[in-house]
């Protein structure tokens, strides 16, 4: 047997390093394949050819001809997943939250559709390598704050520079839609949910911007170039998504009005903590939801204590297309816990494969890149993850190999190195 039949190996890759390995035609045999679309192949053959998936099938009754591959990897008992997708996150746009010099995710100004996260995405960022290690291979680098914070881009977590890492540039514009209520701190009442007295004003302001931008984009000749308006063009012509960040049911109803009024072709609700209350409306209008982290507390004392954990199940039940994301406190660092957020939803009614879909295929569908990534299906990018155990459960998530577009991913990071360094120092196992 001249061809390599590799057992496993994290350490092989660690030792050899990414750059040296250039396999083109690899077969993974006998692994438990979690396709990402809800189905499982208990014993699978997955073949990748250069950057694409060539074959996905069951090994049952299959006679393999090893000669046709330059590498065959036996992953019996292990689990194969599509590379997980981390949506709506500032990962790659900062290193340490408290250090201003490292923060590159929120620009000054209120309406900034022309701001692009793409070019601030740092492939040598400190946090990114720790995220890959848990099976997350893509991130939607997303700008924050302002009424319109700018446009996000979808990045692979491997690459020499942003040009190399980008999967889809400027996939959508992020709108922090006005809210009817906001949290207010006062000496007298403490923290309260106060009504936004400028709500109508803010809505009108926003509508006016959309109308102006649309007018501009419909004109063929411009005496002055307006780069903010230009940046909106793809939202109007349907090339880009419009990500509308909102949590409260009534706010979302208002956003649905807005979407219909301005004929937004590809709207996405981001956040959606109360989306379950109006799931029928979302379904009717075919609006998908990027659901905020379920490791979160209910907003009100009176709510069901587990309501946030149940959100994915409630949307699934009502056939609303959704994915999970982690916006919030320490979100970049928390990205590595994305699979466990999905896993936690399983305890509250979601099936394991639907949980997986919520961080793979469904995410890709919402981002409109499902032809490229999101599931283990023929013709898609060869981006996959092999874990010795269930990737959604903390105690079994052990990613041993990963590939992005057919290239092996370096799973080492500063933390694994420090671990080895101090284990060695103390002589412990």
């Amino acid at each position: 047997m001249k061809k390599h039949i590799i057992g496993i190996l994290l350490f092989n890759f660690s030792i050899i390093g990414v750059a040296q390995i250039k396999y083109n035609h690899i077969a993974f045999i006998n692994g438990i394949a979690h396709i990402g679309n809800g189905s499982i192949i208990e014993s699978s053959l997955i073949v990748i050819n250069k950057d694409l998936i060539e074959t996905v099938t069951s090994t049952k009754g299959l006679k393999l001809n090893y000669k046709s591959f330059d590498t065959v990897i036996d992953i019996q008992g292990k689990h194969v997943y599509p590379g997980l997708i981390n949506t709506n996150n500032i990962l790659g746009l900062h290193d340490a939250e408290a250090i201003r010099a490292t923060r590159d995710y929120s620009e000054i100004g209120n309406i900034n559709p022309h701001i692009r996260s793409l070019i601030a995405y740092n492939t040598d960022n400190l946090i990114v390598p720790t995220v890959k290690t848990n099976g997350i291979l893509y991130t939607q680098a997303t700008p924050r704050e302002g009424l319109i914070s700018g446009s996000s881009s979808i990045m692979a977590l491997e690459g020499w520079n942003w040009e190399d890492a980008v999967l889809k540039a400027d996939d959508g514009i992020h709108l922090n839609y006005p809210k009817m209520n906001y949290k207010k701190w006062s000496e007298e009442d403490g923290l309260t949910n106060s009504s936004n007295k400028k709500y109508t004003e803010e809505l009108n302001y926003l509508s006016r911007f959309f109308e102006d931008a649309k007018f501009y984009c419909n004109e063929t000749l411009h005496t002055e170039k307006n780069i903010r308006f230009e940046a909106m063009r793809n939202v109007f012509n349907g090339q880009s998504n419009l990500y509308i960040h909102l949590d409260k049911a009534k706010d979302i109803l208002s956003a649905i009005n807005f979407i219909n009024q301005h004929k937004i072709k590809y709207p996405v609700i981001v956040g959606g903590k109360e989306s379950y209350k109006i799931s029928k409306e979302l379904k009717k209008n075919s609006i998908p939801v990027m659901l905020n982290r379920i490791n979160d507390l209910p907003d009100y004392a009176d709510e069901d204590v587990d309501i946030v954990y149940r959100l994915p199940y409630l949307l699934q039940k009502d056939s609303v297309l959704f994915c999970l994301q982690l916006e919030g406190d320490m979100e970049a660092m928390q990205s590595r816990n994305l699979p466990f957020n999905a896993g936690a939803a399983v305890a509250y009614g979601l099936s394991k494969e639907d949980a997986l879909a919520s961080i793979s295929l469904n995410a890709a569908k919402i981002l409109r890149i499902e032809s490229l990534i999101g599931s283990l299906e023929v013709g898609k990018k060869a981006s996959l993850v092999i874990s010795s155990g269930d990737i959604l459960d903390i105690k079994t998530n052990q990613v041993e190999m990963a590939f992005i577009s057919g290239k092996p991913v370096d799973l080492k990071n500063k933390q694994t190195e420090l671990y080895i360094k101090y284990k060695t120092k103390y002589g412990i196992k």
Binding site: I99, P298, L418
Partner: protein
Amino acid sequence: MHNKILLFFLCQIFIIKSFSQTTFPSNGAPFKSHTIFAFINANIYADFETLIKNGVLIIKDDKVIAIGEKQEIPKNAIIFDLKGKYIYPSFIDIFCDYGLIIPKSEKKISFGPQIESNTKGAYGWNQAIKSNVEAYKLFSHNNEQAEELKKNGVGAVLSSSKDGIVRGSGVLVNLNTQSKENNSIVIDKAAGFYSFSKGSSSQDYPSSLTGGIALLRQTCYDAIWYNKNKSEYNISLDEFNKLQSLPSIFEANDKFNSLRAAKIGEEFNIKYILKGCGNEYQRINDLQNTKLNFIIPVNFPEAIDAEDPFDSESISLTELKHWELAPSNPASLEKNGIQFCFTTAELKDKNNFLKNIRKSIKYGLSEKTALKALTFNPAFFINANKQLGALKPNYFANFFISSKPIFEDDAYIIQHWVAGESSFYSELNAPDIRGNYTLKFEKNTLLQKSYQFNFYGDLAKPSAQLIIDTTKKNIQYSFKNNLISFNFYLDSINIIRASGYYNANQKRFDGRAQIATGNWFDFELLFNSSADSIKKQQPLKTIDLNLGKVFYPFTAYGEPLNIINGTFKDEWNKFKNNSSTILIKNATVWTNTSDSVLKEHDVYVVDGKIVRIAPNIDVPKTTSVKIIDAKGKHLTPGIIDEHSHIALTSGVNEGAKASSAEVRMGDVINPDDINIYRQLSGGVTCAQLLHGSANPIGGQSVLIKLRWGHNAESMKYDKADGFIKFALGENVKQSNWGDFNTIRFPQTRMGVEQVYFDYFSRAKEYDKQYQTFLKENQKNKNLVFRRYIELEALAEILNKKRFITCHSYVQSEINMLIHLADSFGFKINTFTHILEGFKVADKMKAHGVNASTFSDWWAYKNEVMDAIPYNAAILTKMGVNTAINSDDAEMARRLNQEAAKSIKYGNLSETEALKLITLNPAKMLHIDDKVGTIEPGKVADLVLWTSHPLSVYAKVDKTMIDGQIYFDRTEDEKLREAIKIERSRIISKLIDEKQNGNKVIKAKNKLQRLYHCNTIEGIAEEETGQR
């Protein structure tokens, strides 16, 4: 009888003679009169429980000279015949700021921290101690305020400054505004005033409730010392000591703050009179146990607008229930035997005072107690019951005349006499103008010859109605001193304005009217017949209130207990169907006593303790055994969160000074925090509530069991060792607090070391001095040692009676603190966070310190850039006792998942991983003798999981503390339903309110504030960085 009256009379004359001298020169001949007034045929309340029917009240100058059923009326007395009317002693409000000109607050000098007091002069160190304020020197009459109060029956007030933690003395004054203030002051220094709020003080300390409590306690100790040792002159302490002979009034403004104040009172033997806020009914038993008196406002919440179903979701059950139950607060106080008085404080519109007291009578308060709370009690509380609060000879002539018994809805005050000075609000014998009239105009083209016109309703202020072509129009009119004016629109254009006079004998009005053209006509209004229907008075106490029960705690997921007799605990157990004996059958038991788990085992719990663990335990079939089928489920010890900030009130950081060792988190436990229940649903049974990390030496921690529903004291872990929070690194250096915070020492790690060195050196000296003092001078009462609670806490550390939990990140500072502790001969108990612990695990092991860390947090600030998720595993493998903590209300609900990360990162075994959140924290908190394992003799703090407890797929099925079930998933479902039902019930009441045209306001929508280490009260979280 006759003689007695005469004797009184003589006394009175004597007093008046000496009294009537004055120091004020008169500009022209003086007006002074000594007229005697006699009020006859009145129903007089001589005091709250004595009603004299058809009685006589005689007053002269500012005093009562006689009162009784039959009294001889002095010759020439001016007589008021009050047939059918009522006289009450004027009400007294002892929590008022009437007539005070409040001094302006001291301005802050710069944007940065203000560490020292801005008050110039020989005052104490803290601006919030304003013991020198003397209200009687700041007081002058304010007619407008006085009239407002008098119209509502209040004749005397105790007025005080509402600013600061110690607020100086208040002045008791009568509201007789026509004479000089000199004749209004009843008692110059009537009471001392206190609170927990620093008010206008611009000094940073105290910045939290814990700090306020500590400052007051330290001030008490300082004052005791100052009393005997005048080694410095200190106005604040001097005046503070003078206040101690007065009744003490404490503005607590909350049920729990009342309990907190009561505790301080116990420590210093002060019986505070507690000013509440109207939520006392929510913890009535605890307040009853204080045996203290209360001052209660009647600012019942206004109805909330609950029309929009989405919007109303954010109105909490607490707010809904409080709206419903607040008017029953006074009745609740009465039922539980608490003595209280009413105050007009907190009422935005003082005219709601009587209205709301009437409301509380409809909600069950007896009229007698209401009157007592308005007259006798306030006077008695401040030792003024020999002058005020009743109508007896020689008492102040403070009384009002009411048209009816004052607690009837349509009763109104006709006259109010204060210290003999009268105010007339309506005519004593106002003519009854009610009836059906004919309105006639002088012949003209516009107006018909006659219209029907009616006065009906209230005698005092009848409504008027005009009928034009069968259309009824309500007419605005004024009728005063027998003069009337009114106007109405004849049609859409023509307004008729009329003005005239009343002829009582002929029951008719005559006058002139002007029409839109400007022409004038005569009008007459002629009485035809008596009004047919006088609006029926709603009889008292027949309204079906249908009130909900009080929840314990007073929030969603509280339990609707009805504690009237018996203790809270009895009622709780009854309600929860709690049994003293529980048998958990066929569980997979994680005992923490061996490296494996016990499959299909039973656990037998009796009286809160684990008795036996074995397969197939047979228990005698008695009805009292609660059997839990745990087949397929896992049983673990309760989760212990070593680092938590839930269930705390008003701030976790007292960060104004480098050391705040004097503050105690145990003072500010908030048993109403919903996060207690949420964490029970995640299996947490025990949590150490820590001070924040704003300063190198933080405050004293408190260890609680999550006994949801119970009060603060009974949540505390019984006989736990004392702990204190220390902190190192960026937070104490204020590195991430912005450019203004570069003043407080220390600003570098170098300074941090010296803070400790300085404080421990001083604590050592202090302790030595104190011990010597105790040995040598205990018997000499004249010598007092200044108790310094800050250094005492540190001395306890040196004496190994208090233990340090130190917030820490970077190896250099960890190493430093170990060395520092060694040099003072004590050990650091725990390093918390300790994200670089893995770098100095060997040194930690050698020192014997525990580690309590995050599973995988990092990258939120510079000092955590080297953190690794393998930390817990390395420390454990190195033999350091290690725990995983939350420092976060959300994460605490899934500490089992966080513990599981040490399996993933660092290959700990499953049993080792579980210990990170159970046995190991128990060890570091010195409670592993009672909890942390499942073995006979241990307390039954247990969690039953639906599946493998370290799996992300596991849920908590039941959480037990002391063998009592505090969370049960099936019960939880029922509670959710109950919450829905209770909400809808009250919301439909609110909708009725709105539809009945009553005023509704927007809900306040209070939200729970979540605390982390670095949360500074009053500053938004975003501004302070994190953790």
